[in-house]
């Protein structure tokens, strides 16, 4: 993928300025419809969900007390995993977006909610609500794009370090809550600053995050195992908590990857975003920078309705239980303006996202030009690019690009054959 402005065919080229502003007006109307009709039914939904989630977590933890019996371990661990996913995705994420602030209930409010995650709600609200949702998919500004450790775009110069990025991505998935905490703190950037020069704000946030991590870890890995000790379930409880946290981490990482990373989701160039981006232009960027996951009610619930990532990015503060009914209207708008409503089932989106991670871990065009037949020579090229310095890299890259172009031209001449 390339940022939208560098593409040979900009998918928004057919839209006039007036079209874009009209899109903004129509989306505002969809939003207002929901605001006008939200009420008791929605409030009952979130209260019931919070109630179910807390009972499920309590119940699962109680079952884990008896985790010395294997079926109870499985039951408790599955329940706890589901509870943690619900808490982070459909409840925590959405409450912290302010989706339920209109209820004026201090117990379910973005300013008071703290979630079951290593990152503090304050840190997350800044990096997610302010940075990611405002600068969605702008390379270099939206840290959700690769979290600063990954190559997410062809335009980023390839270096051998990126060969490891599928591994980083997997490790990040398993430890996702800590990854989020680190990037809320902009840990990488701050650690490069000499200790005495780091801002007081960073020091304070770091202390808060460490305190939160300590409390979270104490709960999951000390208190609950100790409570299970008299029943012989200490190890089981420890393992159950560990597995549940990893399951939750991998799941939320996967959902988030599916939201912005599959092939076909657009990224944007920092310089191409006007200073005074209009509401319509902002909406358009959200429309093209997100991807949906198709599926049933369970999928929507367990992804925290981020399966409606497009709708979520258009209307981040509308109650998540309303995205499903808004989606057909939004999709119709995409069709009306001939834009690509990016939607596919979870496995497909996940494959696509991972494929992109792997593709971008390799030099541009390497994967596309590799066939079983030329694999040995391609590997040789890759080896040379990885070990021999920038000059060789540049030359090899030029050859790869040329090869890709030739293959494309050949494919174009033979319309019957599949494109490379």
């Amino acid at each position: 993928m390339t940022t939208i402005t560098r593409k040979p065919e900009n998918p928004t080229a057919h839209l006039t300025e007036a079209d874009i502003e009209q899109i903004g007006i129509e989306l505002d109307a969809i939003r207002q419809d929901v605001i006008d009709s939200r009420g008791e039914r929605d409030a009952a939904y979130i209260r019931r969900l919070v109630d179910v989630q807390r009972r499920l977590e309590l119940g699962s933890r109680a079952v884990l007390l008896g985790s010395a019996i294997p079926p109870l371990w499985v039951l408790g661990t599955v329940g706890l995993s589901v509870a943690k996913i619900l808490e982070n995705m459909e409840i925590g994420h959405n409450v912290m977006h302010g989706q339920w602030d209109w209820m004026r209930d201090p117990k379910i409010h973005s300013t008071t909610w703290e979630w079951d995650n290593a990152s503090t709600s304050d840190g997350w609200k800044h990096s997610h609500n302010e940075v990611h949702h405002t600068y969605t998919n702008i390379v270099g500004k939206d840290n959700d794009l690769g979290y600063g450790i990954m190559r997410v775009d062809e335009d980023q110069r390839w270096v051998p370090f990126y060969l490891l990025q599928p591994l980083w991505n997997f490790v990040n998935a398993c430890l996702f809550e800590y990854g989020i905490a680190a990037y809320d703190l902009e840990l990488g950037k701050n650690l490069r600053i000499p200790k005495e020069k780091r801002s007081a704000e960073f020091q304070e946030n770091l202390a808060k995050t460490l305190r939160k991590i300590r409390k979270q870890a104490t709960k999951d890995y000390v208190v609950h195992p100790l409570l299970a000790l008299p029943f012989g379930g200490a190890v089981g409880a420890l393992a159950g908590n560990l597995v549940a946290n990893v399951v939750r981490n991998v799941w939320s990482h996967s959902v988030i990857m599916c939201g912005h990373f599959p092939e076909g989701v657009e990224t944007f160039e920092r310089a191409a975003i006007p200073e005074d981006e209009t509401r319509g232009e902002w909406y358009l960027r959200q429309m093209l920078g997100s991807a949906n996951i198709s599926g049933g009610k369970v999928t929507h619930l367990m992804t925290g309705n981020l399966s409606h990532q497009i709708e979520h990015h258009l209307f981040p503060d509308l109650p998540s239980n309303r995205y499903a009914e808004v989606a057909p209207k939004v999709q119709a708008l995409f069709e009306k303006y001939d834009l690509n409503y990016h939607e596919a089932p979870l496995p497909q989106q996940l494959y696509s996202a991972w494929h992109k991670v792997v593709r971008l871990s390799l030099p541009n065009d390497w994967l596309a030009t590799t066939t079983p037949k030329n694999l040995p020579s391609q590997l040789k090229t890759l080896w040379a690019m990885s070990t021999k310095g920038p000059k060789v890299r540049r030359a090899a890259q030029a050859r790869l690009t040329q090869l890709a172009r030739r293959q494309q031209a050949a494919a174009a001449e033979q319309p019957g054959s599949a494109a490379a």
């Binding site: 008791e40 929605d42 300013t111």
Partner: protein, 383 residues
Amino acid sequence: MVDMTTAHLPAGAGGRPAGLGRTLRERVRTAARSVAESAVTPLDLDDLLDHFHPLRRGAELSGRVLEVVPETAQSATLVIKPGRDWAGHVPGQYVRVGVDVDGVRLWRTYSLTHGPRRDGSISITVKAIEGGTVSNHLVHRTAPGTMLRLAQADGDFVLPQPLPAKLLLVTAGSGITPVIGMLRNLFSRATPPTTDIVLIHSALSRAEVIFAEEIRGYAARGLIRLVELHTDTDGLLDVDSLDELVPDLAERPTYACGPAGLLDALEAHHSARGLVLHTERFRPVTVAAPGEGGTVTFADGREVSADGSTPILDAAESAGVLMPSGCRMGICMGCVLPLKEGAVRDLRNGALTVAVPGETDPAGVPIQTCVSAPAGACSVDHS
């Protein structure tokens, strides 16, 4: 979590000397609580217990509606079982009630209409006013079992102890509500007080009299002298007719509750003659002409605009900002926030409060958001 904490409860502490037992129990309870807290973080233990026993001791105060008793076509009494921490009340006091209407938590203040009851329940009597979101919801659409948020009883509209020999009570419309609480309390005693009580009550019509049978009953039993006026036939209560209605007016301290017009007239009448008057107002007196209004900026950057007659509290709540609030009529100081910059106008008297960075208190000038409207752009230290 519940089963886990019980595992830490003391066994056989009963046999110890009372003092030692208590301290040990306290200590064990504190320890069990801190274990439980560390087991449920980032939630508080109370967040969880709320799902099982919202009326327990230590919970944020709330109440469960037990009964909704219609009084007139447009009014009803809600009997409420308050949480264990309800500290009780004196008849005549009010309670702030948080009601979820269409999913939105709204707070209103109502007089308590019973003296302390033997069953521990409390009651409020609500008159549905035209266009009143909360009052209509409470009167017409509230079922037993509904949970309400509560604040502790408050207010100084209470009878003095010991009671004076003579009393005059003046009420109009739903202004009867604090007074019925006083009367019920007095007359439920084994020996009713000997105080000579006159109640002047004015309502729109005979059918609109809340607690009609009850007050007429007190009068029939000779417990009070009742002067019942109906606006449709008698016109509004004219304070100049008081001497006629109550010849010994000067001997009677007056307690009055009703619309602002009546209370204002009474205040003028009584102060001119040097008579004692206690009033209870349901709404703030707003004398200020609507001012300029403006935009209020909160600490987190949120901006809310309000016109010159809308309190900052209402405007901010409508915009989804979680605001501290209390009586909503400028009495309890529960809504006070620091004004960092700009000006606000007090809706009760039009007074301007101004905050200038570098000149006024750096921590901000405290303002009552429930009776202050913005007068131009201003910023409030709250998020």
